[in-house]
Symmetry: C2
Subunit: 379 residues, 2 copies
């Protein structure tokens, strides 16, 4: 009941389906986690996110520590209550956003000192403080602070960076074990680094598994290396990861990225793509991407997908969505974000069923045919 765990239900090649167990409920895997950066999945109500089939959302430690603040969220009853999401929440460590969103920062062995992108105030993020923040938020699945090695990196650079992340992994684990605000059943994931170098990835995994984590994240991908290289890294990385722990590929990706990564044994994903693109009128559908800004939709009576369970995909004409997006109306962003989150969740559900039935390859082939059809016929 109150313990964290992971159960594999079926495998099909390297693809796996099962469930991550948390005190707040199960996360069916493979799982896509909508990104709820600042305690909101942008432009969506939480009941829409849940209704679309999401078992878990991601919160960004960097954003929440700055606004409203970790202690403030804790005083308000924790992130779940604050955001009206009683189901599992995974948080990142804040490290990635510190490196991508702040300018005046200094990284040392101790951690990262940085200036807030909101008001310029100075903050220090260490492995220990990251864990403290995540425990104050009440996160069910927490991440160690790591350095997301930039791409490209030389072997020397990648090695140095990976070793720093390993040292921070050890400190994170120690901090997690003694954190006063931790509650039973919360989990900590280690993060595999090593850039595109198989030997470094292997050493990273060896180091992390020696420390021991409830799950393993694969970091340092989707940072410009391209899909081909990313999948090549997964090919040599996932086989080395413990089979009995969930594997989370951070910040990925397109629908095709998800299918190809599940094929290689990944269990969990997060990405801003469905919501960020949704806000700007790009819909992800069974038949590929639909850019609703395009004038070709102006007179189109058809909904995005009349067979969808999602009202946004089923009950509104493309002409109306086009009009809303062109007019800069908030409802356009709301509807297309909803369409995208629902599509991503239905894709994951389709993969879970296919793996359970031992027909993942056929599912993936049909997925690719459908997506390609639209690239020709509908865009």
């Amino acid at each position: 009941m109150s313990a964290f765990g992971f159960t594999l239900k079926a495998t099909d090649g390297a693809a796996r389906t099962g469930a991550v167990h948390t005190p707040r409920g199960d996360i069916r895997t493979p799982a896509f986690m909508p990104v709820g950066t600042a305690a909101t999945v942008k432009a969506l109500y939480m009941d829409q996110v849940r209704g679309a089939g999401a078992d878990v959302i991601l919160g960004n430690t960097y954003h929440l520590m700055l606004r409203p603040g970790a202690e403030e969220v804790h005083a308000l009853g924790g992130l779940h209550k604050f955001a009206n999401w009683p189901h599992p929440i995974l948080t990142d460590s804040g490290g990635f956003q510190v490196m991508s969103l702040t300018s005046l920062r200094k990284m040392t062995e101790e951690g990262v000192n940085f200036a807030s992108h909101i008001d310029g105030s100075r903050h220090m993020l260490t492995p220990e403080r990251s864990i403290e923040i995540q425990c104050l938020l009440g996160s069910d699945i927490q991440m160690q602070l790591d350095e997301c090695t930039p791409f490209p990196a030389t072997h020397v650079e990648a090695e140095k960076s990976m070793e720093l992340s390993l040292r921070w992994a050890k400190r994170s684990r120690a901090a997690f074990e003694t954190q006063e605000h931790r509650t039973e059943g919360q989990a900590l994931f280690g993060i595999v680094q090593g850039s595109t170098y198989p030997d470094l990835r292997a050493r990273s995994i060896e180091g992390l598994t020696n420390i021991g984590f409830e799950g393993y994240s694969i970091g340092g991908l989707a940072v410009g290396e391209g899909q081909e290289m990313m999948l090549k890294v997964l090919d040599t990385t996932t086989p080395l990861l413990p089979k009995d722990r969930p594997r989370y590929l951070m910040g990925v990706g397109t629908p095709d990225d998800l299918v190809e990564s599940v094929r290689r044994g990944v269990d969990m994903f997060d990405c801003v793509m469905p919501t960020r693109n949704g806000r700007h009128g790009l819909a992800f559908t069974r038949y590929g991407k639909v850019n609703l800004k395009n004038a070709r939709h102006a007179k189109d009576h058809r909904p995005i997908d009349e067979t969808s369970d999602c009202p946004a995909a089923r009950d509104y004409s493309r002409a109306y969505l086009h009009h809303l997006i062109k007019s800069g109306e908030m409802l356009g962003s709301m509807l297309v974000s909803w369409i995208n989150i629902a599509y991503y969740q239905s894709l994951m559900a389709g993969m879970r069923d296919a793996i359970a039935d031992g027909r993942f390859d056929a599912f993936a082939a049909q997925f690719k045919a459908d997506q390609a059809a639209n690239d020709i016929a509908a865009l």
Copy 2:
């Protein structure tokens, strides 16, 4: 079934309650019409608008004629279908927005020639074209083209402007009678002008009732004259209007404006105030206005109104709403707009019940006491 009509159920002093009958359903009066400018009530789903108790929404002819275009909406099945709102829709004539939103315009006896604020394209809006557009949209309750006399205006200016509106009223009525896209049960309202001059308002009403309309709008108010002057104009205007036709006060107003105007015999209202202010974090509540940007809400666990039927008012803490608004998150605009539309609808429902029970004065006194309490205690 398919005829337009108006039934008075009860009066209490000058206040009235009843229903406007349209082929698409009844509009319980006094009614507040949420503004759906560009075929969307900004930041809200139509089922939220309906669920809040709205029987009718307003569409802006000016915006819709420019984007997506009246003929385009007609080809897509009309505005109701386009916007997923199968219930009554009232449209304005476009005249007010032409005067307030465009710059390069020329008004003649014929109509107004203007440049679109979207792309600079030139358009001509005449009484006949306004009716044609409203019929193409499929509007249930249409407005004559008029000139909204600016405030202040001299008696001479106001008289000249009022007389132009009267001539346009006559042309609008004639155009409406012969409009090919008109369907049974659609209604046309004349618009009373005359600025703050009782004699001109009286002559306007005489002219309009001689032509004959299904309802009468009171225009040229809420344009800077202040509440006291507005109510003074209503005091001398509403008694002259036919008792058996609905009366619509255009572009009004604050909750207190609504109560005071209902007291004086007004049946219908529209205003952008609840949605526009909602988008920026100002909530209208039973206990007055709550500015959610204010830091005093940052640690407040309480919802806006725990007794409300509206989930947005009941299920989210003020601290969370404050956070969303401060962070510029769309969900903040969505929730506060919803809170406001729900509050406006509940205020109208309260007035309808009070009039039916013959206790409008007591209702209004309690309303004022509640609103004042918050101005002291909660802001």
